[in-house]
């Protein structure tokens, strides 16, 4: 559970400085790396969608089993059936990209509604919402998903709906805390005194002007979690099945060869998972430090 605290401070003091002096170098590096990864994922997703791949990801090549990277024509080598690892990695993005977006949308939309209700209204509604978020937080996410798989079927969209629901508490708490912090500021009071409608205050002055950054950060971190979850589940055998590739089932199917000393077929997807999740997490945390002024200047 990450704590994002809001520190007060003068805003706009350094606004004339160029961007690399305004923010810590580390944060800029984080964000740059994260954006690079996001761009790579997006491009690969589009490539995979139109089947613009170096090889057919299902094409078996018996001549060239477990080729090492950079061997002829196969940039990242081949797996234990001689299938091109790079193509399979690119196709693996199809397994989590849209489902991940669905999960994030659910978390954000429901989380914002509940967060606004509990932060702005307070009172009895807040008690109910706190109970609800505690209730969701009581389940280990993976156990709840296994429960849903047992009840319905191992469909990635069902799984991602559950993932979205389990992501609600984090967003709710973050939004509610932010609103409680904002409520002490005079501009909300001024808006009320000016007779603005509650809807306008919430939508425009609270959410749009002050929670944009927070929502982008939550979305980024949520994507990292969605990838972690999808890969874990396809590793466990729920989700995308062979011969269609996902990063989790690629690690899993390469496992036996891994123990014999052929590391690459299992390690390539594992590294893809590592670098991608790292990218989303660093992007989220870097943006958090930059946009929410967390690091003292």
């Amino acid at each position: 559970m990450k704590k994002y605290t809001q520190t007060s401070g003068e805003i706009g003091d350094f606004s004339q400085l160029p961007i690399w002096q305004k923010y810590a170098l580390v944060d800029l590096l984080y964000v740059a790396y994260g954006l690079l990864i996001v761009a790579l994922v997006l491009v690969s997703y589009v490539l995979g969608m139109f089947n613009l791949l170096p090889h057919d990801p299902q094409q078996i090549n018996i001549e060239l089993l477990m080729a090492s990277p950079l061997s002829d024509g196969y940039l990242l080598g081949t797996d234990f059936l001689g299938r091109d690892i790079l193509s399979r990695l690119i196709m693996g993005i199809q397994a989590y990209f849209l489902p991940g977006l669905l999960a994030i949308s659910i978390s954000l939309i429901v989380g914002v509604v509940l967060g606004v209700l509990s932060g702005y209204r307070g009172g009895r509604i807040e008690t109910v919402i706190v109970y609800f978020t505690n209730l969701i937080d009581s389940f280990p996410r993976l156990v709840l998903i296994l429960l849903v798989i047992a009840a319905f079927k191992p469909d990635i969209y069902y799984i991602m709906i559950v993932m979205g629901i389990t992501g609600i508490p984090t967003v709710t708490t973050a939004i509610a805390n932010k609103i409680r912090f904002l409520a002490q500021k005079s501009f909300i009071e001024a808006a009320i005194a000016l007779g603005l409608r509650t809807r306008v205050i919430i939508m425009k002055h609270i959410l749009w002007y002050n929670c944009r950054a927070l929502l982008i950060i939550q979305a980024t971190l949520g994507m990292g979690e969605a990838i972690l979850l999808e890969t874990s589940l396809s590793y466990l055998g729920f989700g995308v099945q062979e011969p269609v590739s996902s990063w989790g089932n690629m690690v899993q199917s390469g496992a036996n060869y891994f123990l014999q000393g052929n590391f690459w077929p299992s390690t390539a997807p594992a590294l893809a998972i590592l670098f991608t999740i790292l990218g989303f997490n660093l992007l989220g945390d870097g943006l958090n430090n930059i946009l929410e002024d967390r690091r003292g200047r």
């Binding site: 559970m1 009581s138 156990v143 429960l147 191992p154 972690l228 000393g261 590592l274 997490n281």
Partner: protein
């Protein structure tokens, strides 16, 4: 404290209801299995229900299941035909060893690093690589880390950690437990958050007036900073991370063939074994609530002011 207990009880009641509701909404009727190929017409189904004494209404079914669970009767597994209760007890104990052990590993690694980092102030030279390492570890897929550990155990130390827990009579029996515990402790991604939180809290507490006073009069700084700077943040983050660690345990148990709740849940999800998965979800939620209750108790014992709020 009574309020906390009541809240935990209410939450567990809600958990049981959600678990029941999900499985109630599941398509198909489990009792069809008992019809042995007869066409499941409504009359036949009603007959089976009546013969088995299964309540017709959803609340009847819910309360009879809940009463059973409260008296220790978790139902019968479809796969084994045995009562779920005793097996649940043994697997949840196995999972408890795994998770508690891994928490210990996490703390033993994270606390010294965090204390060192906060004692040296915000030295960029050590805190940056550490933060980076934390990020990398929390992004690392834990199953792949498991394979590395297995590979190292086989090829360097000449033992095979997959037959875990069954081989504890061996001389090196402890290794079969040690490897999965290490993998979960390192790979669950909790280390980086413990370090980050602890360093922030410790630095904050070290700057407090009472610590400065203690230092000025020559009293032990450590004794004054321990409660607020170490004990409370550690218990807080561990309690918040229990669901996460249990989720990681599902994977690690799968990798190492560890006979715990996670493996059983995995099996039950494949078999659509409702009694088993219901029991596991309840027990996992109970672990989470107990952890949070324990954390509140420690907080209240350390700082009675918190308890009165």
């Amino acid at each position: 404290m009574l309020k906390e207990l009541a809240l935990a009880f209410l939450l567990l009641l809600g958990v049981s209801f959600i678990v029941f509701a999900i499985l109630y909404a599941a398509p198909g009727d489990q009792l069809n299995v008992l019809l042995e190929g007869q066409l499941p017409t409504p009359e036949v189904r009603a007959g089976v229900r009546e013969a088995l004494g299964v309540a017709q209404s959803w609340y009847g079914q819910y309360f009879s299941w809940l009463l059973g669970v409260l008296s220790g009767n978790f139902g019968t597994s479809i796969r084994t035909g045995l009562p779920v209760g005793p097996e649940l007890l043994s697997v949840s104990l196995n999972t408890l060893y795994l998770t508690l052990g891994s928490m210990l590993v996490t703390l033993l690694i994270a606390i010294p690093i965090a204390l060192y980092a906060s004692a040296r102030g915000h030295l960029v030279s050590i805190s940056w690589p550490l933060t980076m390492l934390g990020y990398v570890i929390s992004a690392l897929p834990v199953f792949w880390l498991g394979y590395i550990a297995i590979y190292i155990s086989i090829h360097w130390f000449n033992f095979f950690p997959l037959a875990s827990l069954g081989r504890q009579s061996d001389v090196n029996g402890w290794l079969y437990t040690f490897v999965p515990v290490m993998v979960l402790g390192l790979g669950s991604g909790t280390i980086s958050e413990v370090i980050r939180n602890l360093r922030e809290e410790m630095t904050r507490v070290m700057a407090e007036d009472y610590v400065r006073t203690a230092r000025a009069k020559g009293a032990s700084v450590w004794r004054h900073a321990f409660k607020e700077g170490l004990l409370i943040p550690v218990t807080e983050i561990i309690a918040a991370k229990i669901p996460f660690i249990l989720g990681g345990a599902v994977i690690v148990e799968q990798v190492f063939n560890w006979p715990g709740m996670g493996r059983m849940a995995w099996q039950a999800a494949q078999d659509r074994d409702f009694s088993v998965i219901m029991g596991i979800a309840l027990i996992a939620a109970t672990f989470v609530r107990l952890g949070s209750l324990l954390q509140r108790t420690i907080c209240a014992a350390v700082n009675p002011q918190h308890a009165r709020e």
